[in-house]
Amino acid sequence: MTEIGRARLRTEDTRLVTGRTRWTDNLTPAGTLHVAYLRSPHAHARIDNVDVEAAKDRPNVVAVLSGKDFAEEQGALPCAWQVTEDMKLPAHPPMAVDEVRYAGEPVACVVARDRYSAVDALEDIDVDYTPLPPVVDMERAVQDGADLVHSDMGTNASYTWVFEQGDLDAAMRDAPVLLERRFVQQRLIPTAMEPRAVLCEPDGSGPNMDFTLYSATQIPHILRLMLAVVTEIPEHRIRVIAPDVGGGFGSKLQVYGEEVLALLLARRLGRPVKWTESRSEGNMAVHHGRDQIQKVTLAADRDGLVKGLKVELLADMGAYLMLVTPGVPLLGAFMFPGIYKMDAYSFTCTGVFTNKTPTDAYRGAGRPEATFAIERLMDDLADELGVDPLEVRRRNWIRHEEFPYESIAGLTYDTGNYEAATEKALALFEYDKLRAEQSDRRDRRDPVQLGIGVSTYTEMCGLAPSRVLGSLSYGAGGWEHASVRVLPSGKVEVVTGSSAHGQGHETAWAQIASDRLGVPFEDVKVLHGDTAVSPKGMDTYGSRSLAVGGVALFRACDKVVEKARAIAAHLLEASEDDLEFGGGRFSVRGVEAAGLTIQEITQAAFAAHDLPDGVEPSLDSDVTHDPENFSFPHGTHLCAVEVDTETGFTRIRKYVAVDDVGTVVNPMIVEGQVHGGLAQGIAQALYEEAVYDADGNLTTTTMADYLLPSAADLPSFTTDRTETPAAGNPLGVKGVGEAGTIASTPAVVNAIVDALRPFGVRDVPMPCTPERVWTALREGGAL
């Protein structure tokens, strides 16, 4: 049986279900010191003085340090995405020195012999602050005379980025249908279950000191380079290990101040130092996601054909630009047109500083925001014309025979079949039956109304072709590395630059290698997440692992097979062209008995007694793969909700997701990714919001205040797939990690609005809590 497409149970589960895990916080080398941070209670304040003397006298305390103590060595946290030449990029010290700009920013730390003593001593640090006016409202922040987050910059606008294609004025002029909407993408807290943790072990002394830094990170390779740049510690003296990492969702795609400071403290103290955050400090200090105000205008004719789309965004950067903060909304710039054809498109985004936790990538990163806007608009367009929401989409979407298709935003969608995914979804959903029930409930004036929401999405992922990243002024490439080593015994080691944190690479990569090399699945070991083991990598985010890293592995396997073919031909005294490879064995065409297995060949390559001229000993290969294009998963999601018009409570009655993620390596893992993605997208629609008060205090600092859905809050999903292989890679795969999140938020909100249209409701702001639904109903005027 071929391994590609097989629902292999995961090899990584063994340690995870038994508790034999390697979370960063599990590691405590002898002599480890523990760090605790004092964080700013103010959104914006000048630091007048930090007195650490009393804290130093507390028991078990080894050191107490404030920002001034690090000022000479801490550098500034990196932003890798200079989106415009004149982008305002404020210095971002790992520990605040003169001024704090968001509540939760570190201002001092205690290093102690145990965790409790470190936290205790924080109480004795005395900080004098002079409060400054906090900037908490994005729209007011960009008005003249607004208070400033960074006074030296003279503005709260970091950048304005523009993309225009086609004649938008012509498309808008005299358009019979013009829909103008304002949507708010609320701020979210990514909330990976494992809080951040970092342990840094120094080795040696003076300029010869080496460092091993363990971190709960998605990006060990990028982190290593950035730590070297920020601290000027030579890159080759830093080894970064991401051991078991408990989820990321973008929040661990970051270079955090606490990581830099762990390195500096280990250098200063010459001992291992460890810091593990509490959830309530994490909610303030892990980067947040989303937070956009979207002004969108869609022009169409009376047949429902879309003519043009104008998008004006304000995107909240928070107080500083972190690793890819300014670029996140721009990933959405290319996705607002969705799967639809149109003549003209314009996108303008202004990144705005506020005195809040910095934003950055969160599952979907820019694409959920864009997909939400266009899918909400398409439902409104259908309502405006009095046609079915799927019918208006059909009239506008790219038909399957039109691929490859260059979108109005300049992307080349390689393949897709929106018709097939939609047909499958409709059948699973029993669309007509639910529409009939909806109509019946409306007629009966049932207090519980039924709504049906549609989301036909695509998204760009598999980040990314390096030349495209270059054209967007991103600071690095988008390639991935893989190496394959067939060991002398015939067992196989695969090394990947992708860094798994729950996705199941150890299983799926072994499936690819097993399939390509014809060796047993059990004979393959996948190594990752350690810069000393995996020499090159661009890590895991943007649904890139399989579409870029998996393809690198695919190619590395083929390279091994080609080397093995040369050796086999030599040993079998046959021409390479006469050799067939299948099931892990080369055989001479027509002479079935004459053959060599890959295990026999690796022995010969190891001994190297009789290799063809020019062939190096050992059977292994390396590939660094740069993708030609993004991958474009797509699909049709249908959601039915029951909304209680008396209480405003929404219950998801049915959720059908049909996704096309191309060729599937492991359908079990793919389905799991979709489930989790749906849960996070639904959570944005119904439950989650990071809330700040007027003074810039985060009021959702704990899981008691920030509503992560539990099993009791979510439905069972019906998922299925169509499989249109991607044309841009030899595996035919597309990314899947973010698709569910991107598609589901608009499906749910569309369903709620659909339920409430007879009551005059046209929108409900997210999250659509009972109170907000209830309020929208009262304001609808038809109750």
């Binding site: 149970l9 995961r10 990584e12 589960d13 063994t14 995870l16 279900v17 038994t18 508790g19 034999r20 895990t21 979370w23 916080d25 599990n26 405590t28 145990d114 965790r115 409790y116 909330t191 990976a192 279950m193 494992e194 809080p195 078991d244 990492v245 408990g246 989820g247 969702f249 593990t276 509490s278 959830r279 309530s280 944190h501 729950g502 996705q503 199941g504 079990m668 893992i669 389905e671 799991g672 990714q673 489930h675 989790g676 993605g677 749906l678 849960a679 996070q680 704990t702 899981m703 008691a704 992560l708 539990s710 099993a711 009791a712 979510l714 069972s716 999903f717």
Partner: protein, 161 residues
Amino acid sequence: MPRIRVEVDGETFEDDVEPRVLLVHYLRERLGKVGTPVGCDTTNCGACTVLLDGLSVKSCSVLAVQADGRSVTTVEGLSLDGTGDHPLQQAFHRTHALQCGYCTPGMIMASLDLLRDNPDPSEQEVRNGLEGNLCRCTGYQNIVRAVRSAATEMRGREVTS
């Protein structure tokens, strides 16, 4: 400093502990039982769930001194009877009920208590029963499957034993 005597996963420990030390920190930092992780500081996430005298507790909301004279079972103690992994551990693996795996020890321990109360729960009963355990990866669907699948398995074992 009070001295406590606690049985953890079948082994007896005697230690002097500060009265304020949380059970989860005692398990992780004193005993090296790092299989039980910590996911929050407000008892919402349930990642640290263990059994205390057979009943599930969030070990971040129990003091180590409260475990004096009592028996604690963590996820590490589930498969120590020589018969391999516990049916719940097997079911979580078999139904892909974990991705990053951070919530898994707590999910398994909470499920064990749930099945003790209700050996044949419906889907909704599992969902309600695990309300105090949060997962960010799976959307819960396969966790519900795992618990019901293990329930079937465990009922079968009781009949045969």
